[in-house]
Amino acid sequence: MKKIQLISGLIAAFICALTIHISAQNPKAKYGTFALTNATVETVTKGTIKNATVVISNGKITAVGENTPAPQGAEIIDCKGLFIFPGMIDGGTNLGLSEIGSDARTQDFNELGDIIPQMKALTAVNPNATAIPITRVSGVTTALASPAGDMYAGTAALINLHGYTPEQMFAGFEGVVLNYPRSGRRGGFDRRTEEEVKKANDAAIKRLNDVWERAVQYHKVDSATKGKDMGYYPEMIAMLPVVRGERALLVEVNAEKDIRAALKWVAEKKIAKVIFTGMAEGWRVTDELVKAKVPVIAGGVLELPSRDYDRYDQAYANAGMMQKAGVKVAIRSQETGNQNYRNLPYHAGFAVAYGMDKMEALKAITIVPAEIFGVADKIGSIEVGKTANLFVCDGDPFETKTQVKNVFIGGWQMPMVSRQTELYNEFLKREPGATK
């Protein structure tokens, strides 16, 4: 008996030493063939499969099913009692473009100029941003890195949250960001007179139309000359795919009046690929949105009502109300100020608590954004042939206490550490503790 204790003690000591050795260096992601066995798999598109195995190989999901054998040599991860979900997709972030909110030197999402669609977020994404591991260990595997600023603020890029160059991270979608001119005041601090506000808005709408007209002209000349001797007009070059319907225009718009104006504007200009984002007052305009068939990336959900006389839970209910009316709705977190994109499942969860169907809310952070971004053939659900972006957890992913156990991005098994977990491990039982 003593011997067994001694041996197990030695083994424990050895494991301890090994762990210390491993944690002494930055853990790396792991690539290979994995079989995630005995799991409850929420495919999102093809129902829930119990006691299932998901096989990951060469970065893809190669098998999903109840009696799926693990391939030879596969690393087996027993997921008994656990759940597998597709990686969550946050359509509203500035991940990689901002490190510290108050320090302009660490911010790369806000270039000078109001017509700058040629400014590419993908160029400035820092693959080593601290927020990236902090986000992905919570199961968010993909995010839209979005520039902010005046009218045409730049070109946003969808990125997977693992990789060492922007190219490795690129998830197959880019879209031009348009902040649709606001007709009202910008907030309580905006002390302009009503006249000044109207004048500014009229000027902005005129500029919006002029720029679009120029882009259409540019497209016509470019088509006629087949692009020969066109000179260098970077902002027009960046607008071309939008005018030609090859690239989406992400229209950030929130107030009811502006949503109506923006709907009219995109219809008039016959812009083929449009995504409306933000949409705080989308619930006031559901009929028109359904008619126009414009997809929406709504949020954040955890917001105040936009008007003082609105019901207190209006912002929580907004996404669900649009979805119920028949609008295609994805949910984003938009927690840019504190880089808390890890809260994406809670934005979806609050939408459910205040009226949205649970399955629809899950779709709103997985397959729906994938469809809106045109990458549903690659991500957004657990299906054979898709990129292995998924996570393993011990319960309902919306529930706050649920623990995410494993995250795969592009078939890479992520180390489940971030600076925040490292600080936890160092300081939970600090050594030395309090001394006099």
Partner: protein, 455 residues
């Protein structure tokens, strides 16, 4: 049209009872989360004259007492936000590094709709705080959310201890050093400003003590010291009559204030935000200082860059009395969810997590004898939830302050304003998308900074 709105709102209020009235109510058959005395299933809570009179099974409703059927619902103590800026009309008196003489109690605004929205999140009491522009800021006020009153004084929690705001680090150094070109520009300066203030107050106290002694002596002809409200207030801190609530982030500055307070014999000390509190948790615990933290906010400025969402857990496990606060009119609506994040980040028990928003903030405000848990004799500040409050699906149904139902999810109309701003355009949003991570503590100092420097 606007007039009609005003009339309608007034009519809605007229039916309400007066603010300081105490209510009677019987909450039947709920799952009662007392926080301090365990969880009781299928239990009734009887409220008489605004106090919890009885907790038990099968309590009969006294005649004329309204009953709330809480079958399948969760009954918990009203949530307390130890760091808020709602219901006040001024936040920063940013004119000097020390402004102990000003008080939020003078500018309570009971009409803000945010008060009702907070009730919608199960909040019954808030610590309405001065901002963080000054090393020693103004005095704060503990309020009960008696929404419906037009009297600011009626919002004040009678008998709550006095509190004052201190601030360390980037905010006071930016406002005064960078903005005004006066000390403090560094963390060294912040310590100096606080030590100098306490030393002045000590001298002031001694001068008054000496005068009060001497004037008893026959033939004494000296004049009294000059009365100074700032020093009077600081002296009350030294005497232990005002609790310090100190805005702070970095471990070194937290440790600094512990030492300063030790040198001046100050024991009642709560750190606010205290993002790096986890690094000096053993020191905080040993001193008996408390911590009121964000669940997960970080990255909005450099001094919160090395934060961790495990902060509340590390502090709790090291024996520091910890609360989770909002500092934000939106986040304060879901403090129950913020508390639940400690179950993701550190797996705290239900009781530990709920303590963070009930009994612990009550301790930090010195009101734990009256609020923060469901116990007989305590104030009837109660939140009733559909689904467990730590579940993402938890939704407050009723919020009760002093036995009066101030929020009723099913019965309340959408428009709950007490006041209509006649200048506000009715077709236009008042606010669009809050700025998460915005430093609300810096409200009123924007004029000092350039556009890029605002956050």
């Amino acid at each position: 049209m606007k007039k009609i709105f005003i009339l309608f709102s007034l009519a809605a209020c007229a039916t309400w009872t007066f603010a300081q009235d105490k209510g009677n109510v019987l909450i039947k058959n709920g799952t009662v989360l007392t926080v301090t005395k365990g969880t009781l299933t299928e239990t009734d809570v009887l409220v008489k004259d605004g106090k919890i009179a009885q907790i038990g099974k099968n309590i009969a409703a006294p005649q004329g007492v309204k009953t709330i059927d809480a079958t399948g619902l969760f009954v918990m103590p009203g949530i307390i936000d130890a760091h808020s800026h709602i219901a006040i009309d001024g936040i920063n008196e940013a004119t000097s590094p020390v402004t102990a003489e000003v008080a939020e109690g003078d500018v309570v605004n009971p009409l803000q709709v945010q008060i009702y929205r907070a009730l919608g999140g199960g909040v019954t009491a808030v610590h309405a705080m001065h901002g963080s522009a000054n090393a020693i800021g103004g005095q704060c006020e503990t309020l009960k959310l008696r929404y419906g009153t037009f009297d600011g004084d009626a919002m004040k929690m009678e008998g709550a201890p006095r509190t004052i705001k201190f601030a360390l680090g980037e905010n006071p150094t930016r406002v005064h050093g960078t903005g005004n070109g006066i000390v403090p520009r560094t963390r060294m300066g912040v310590e100096f400003v606080i030590r100098k203030s306490f030393s002045d107050a000590k001298k002031y106290m001694e001068d008054w003590d000496a005068y009060n002694q001497n004037k008893l002596v026959k033939g004494f002809r000296g004049a009294p010291p000059v009365y100074n409200l700032r020093l009077e207030t600081l002296a009350e801190i030294l005497k232990g009559n005002i609790i310090i609530h100190c805005h702070s982030y970095r471990a070194d500055e937290i440790f600094m204030l512990l030492k300063v307070c030790k040198d001046f014999g100050i024991k009642r000390l709560v750190f606010q935000h205290v993002n790096e509190g986890f690094k000096v948790a053993p020191e905080l615990a040993a001193y008996g200082a408390m911590a009121s933290v964000f669940s997960d906010w970080w990255a909005y400025k450099f001094e919160v860059y090395y934060s961790t969402a495990y902060n509340a857990t590390i502090l709790t496990k090291n024996g520091v009395v910890t609360s989770i606060n909002s500092d934000d009119a939106e986040m304060m609506r879901h403090l129950y969810h913020e508390a639940a994040k400690t179950q993701k980040y550190g797996q705290l028990s239900d009781e530990e997590a709920l303590s963070l928003i009930t009994i612990n903030p009550a301790k930090q405000l010195g009101i734990d004898a009256r609020t923060g848990s469901l116990e007989v004799g305590k104030d009837a500040d109660i939140a009733i939830f559909k689904n467990h409050p730590l579940s993402i699906y938890g939704v407050p149904q009723f919020t009760i302050v002093d036995g009066i139902v101030r929020f009723d999810r099913a019965a309340d109309p959408a428009d709950m304003r007490l006041m209509v701003d006649p200048k506000q355009n009715i077709d236009e949003p008042a606010t669009i998308l809050s700025e998460k991570g915005r430093d609300n503590c810096m409200d009123g100092t924007e004029f000092l900074f350039t556009e890029t420097d605002k956050k």
